[in-house]
Amino acid sequence: MEGITNEGLILACSAIGAGLAMIAGIGPGIGQGIAAGYGASAVGRNPGAKSDIMSTMLLGQAVAETTGLYGLAIAFILLFANPLLGKL
């Protein structure tokens, strides 16, 4: 019976790694949800400042999104531009 080739092993582990990299999506999901909750209660306390609160909240959420995107970038690199294949 033939075993797995070297290249097949690298590709398989890259696919697993890409899936594991997406676990980084948990952090921004929880953090941004909590921030949205605080934003909503701030609007409830001070309805006149709604547009200020909204732009502050959106700015903060877009910055907090960054670490989730780092995981996405690693997943894309592993799937579509795999640098490990050439190092056999």
Partner: protein, 236 residues
Amino acid sequence: MLLAAKGDVDFMIHGLFKYKLFGQEFWITTTHVSILIVMLILLGFAIAANRKMRHGSEVPGGFQNIVELIVEMLDKMVQSSMGRNAGKFMNYIGSIFLFIFVSNISGLFGLRAPTADYGVTLPLGLMTFAIIQYNNVKYNKHRAFTGLFQPLPFLFPINLIGEIAVPFSLSLRLFGNVLSGTVMMSLIYSLLSRFAIGWPGFLHIYFDAFSGAIQTYVFCMLTMVYVTDKLPEEKA
């Protein structure tokens, strides 16, 4: 079976034309064509606005109104963030705002967004880095370097990494958001090709218009905040 990709899920960048220069091989890619189209749109808009403003009227109507609206919005944004230093940076911030905004939106019009290519967002981030460090050295002189040792000298590696991470985080944030929008939309169009009629418009509104606008605003806001950090404080 319905959702099996028949091999035509295509969101990659294609090389269109190859040429050699000084012994190196260069490609003209999809991104070059997209940037050219975005540039032509911006240039056309700028030339039309210039011609209109030569004979501007006191009470603006139509096109002049739109141009004044855009300029006022950009001015207000830079003023609110940078205060009295705003005059020196309004040009740069306004230019990158317009370029990134039109690039992000171009997914709606059939182009593959130029900012979905890391080779476009990284130079934008590096330009911001250059401006930040130039202003740092210009206004703080030697304190630009000794500032890395504040408040405690052993924090030098952490401060250094914090400075170097700025262009990479700015560029990766923009790149990741626009690329994920591009990938999602091309997956929907290729996997659900028969059923994707009408309702993908709402997804376009979220991924291309909303996300594109927010990322533009965040990029410009962060640039202004980082630069204002290095400038001397206002003596209130």
